[in-house]
């Protein structure tokens, strides 16, 4: 009984983090790169149909993810079930996956838009994707570290 509950709580910590991470990075992408720097374009002439659909679905999902992730976070706190490191791992995982997806699939394969409209955009692409990979790896590390239920057991023992 207790054990099932632990697994459920542990899973929820990760998913809440992932959802929030995806939403957070999408929001940063939108405000920083689209609105403030104006590096990205609202619509690229070379954008394909499938790219447009993928972009739309991801945009819709990211809005929902930010808000749902935060409500899940509040629910975990209300239940005394928050494992912050695991949640943070989820956030970084979400951020990393989104950036990699954006950088490789959306920018390079579907060609929705580029990071910036300059000659040697490859430099930006490398920084973008390597950065994403590092964030992703830290996220995975944090999730593995907290996945043996040890954190939660300690937490319960202390209470």
């Amino acid at each position: 009984m207790r054990n099932n509950n632990d697994i459920e709580v542990s899973r929820r910590n990760m998913w809440s983090g992932i959802l929030f991470g995806v939403g957070l990075i999408a929001f940063i992408d939108e405000t920083v790169f689209h609105q403030l720097l104006r590096w990205h374009h609202f619509y690229d002439k070379s954008t394909t149909d499938i790219g447009l659909i993928s972009d739309g679905i991801f945009h819709a999902f990211s809005w929902f993810a930010t808000i749902a992730g935060l409500f899940l976070f509040a629910d975990l706190r209300r239940r005394n079930g928050l494992i912050f490191q695991r949640w943070l791992g989820g956030v970084l995982l979400g951020v990393g996956v989104f950036q990699l997806y954006d950088g490789i699939i959306q920018h390079k394969w579907m060609r929705i838009h580029q990071i910036r409209y300059v000659d040697n955009v490859i430099v930006y692409d490398i920084v973008w994707n390597v950065g994403a990979l590092i964030i992703l790896l830290i996220g995975i590390y944090l999730i593995f570290r907290t996945s043996k239920n040890s954190t939660l057991k300690e937490k319960n023992a202390n209470e």
Binding site: I57, N80, N156
Partner: protein
């Protein structure tokens, strides 16, 4: 009855090439003012029999109706006829902002409370009917709502809308009704006879929002019939970014309803057994 009459006379007028814009505004204005008056009358009746209907809900209904009116009557509606951005703002008001306020106002609850038992029973059986079950199903509602937009902006319908006043009336009413039905198929305030899980509704909501986003970006590159490139770009960005913020409000209400419903009855990790025992003790 009144609006029925106007609707017919309006159709004739359109054919007799009198000013269609004014008539359209008049008909739609009468519809929304009628709904506003009907709601307030129902509140007054129900307040005499039962405990007071929350003033907050009456205010929400009024705000919703004022927003709907602003979309179809007056300066915005006038400009919307020739300016695509204004048309887009009017669309957002009529089919997205107003429905949220109207949903919060719980009109169906009020209606059932005001009606006498026989009528209320009839209404309930209508609400439970297969047809309404089908129409208010999240997927049907989403298709009618977003699909209607696709149809309007990617075909010649948009031109017809400006030529034929009767058709314009239909489009406006469709905007309004489809927007409302979709809103109440996702967020539940009134009693719902066919409930769907949060997970399912979340999926439909995301897909519907995506459909809206994709359409707005599509219009950026492919202007609707009769709309210039420049206007289409402006209008589609309004639809995309302003639409975003309205969608955020719907998502927050949706998640908040989940948060309330998922409230733990007891502290899950600590004191689980103790409370269980004390409950048995009683």
């Amino acid at each position: 009855m009144n609006s029925q009459y106007l609707l017919h006379s309006h159709g004739h007028n359109a054919m007799n090439h009198s000013v269609p814009g004014i008539n359209l505004q008049l008909v739609l204005g009468v519809v929304f003012i009628f709904l506003l008056v009907a709601y307030i009358t129902a509140v007054l009746i129900t307040n005499q029999r039962y405990k007071k209907w929350p003033i907050f809900r009456t205010i929400c209904w009024t705000i919703g109706m004022v927003i709907a009116l602003a979309a179809v009557v007056g300066p915005l509606a006038n400009i919307a006829h020739s300016n695509f951005t204004a048309h887009m703002v009017s669309h957002l008001f009529l089919s997205m902002v107003a429905p949220i306020f109207l949903a919060i106002a719980k009109p169906i609850t009020l209606l059932l409370r005001t009606a006498n038992t026989t009528l209320a029973r009839k209404l309930t059986s209508i609400l439970k009917s297969r047809l309404l079950k089908f129409v208010s199903h999240p997927i049907t509602a989403a298709v009618l709502n977003v699909g209607g937009l696709w149809l309007l902006y990617t075909t010649n319908l948009f031109v017809y809308m400006h030529e034929n006043a009767f058709f314009a009336l239909f489009v406006h009413l469709h905007f309004f009704i489809a927007g409302y039905v979709f809103t109440i198929s996702i967020i539940y305030f009134d009693p719902v006879y066919h409930q769907y899980s949060y997970r399912f509704r979340a999926a439909v909501l995301i897909i519907a929002i995506a459909g809206h986003d994709i359409l707005s970006k599509y219009m950026y590159a492919n202007p609707p019939a009769g709309v210039s490139q420049q206007e289409a770009e402006m209008g589609s960005m309004v639809m995309y970014y302003v639409g975003d913020w309205i969608e955020v409000v719907i998502i927050i209400i949706f998640c908040w309803q989940w948060y309330k419903s998922a409230k733990p009855r007891r502290n899950v990790t600590v004191g689980f057994n103790r409370e269980q025992v004390s409950m048995h003790g009683k």
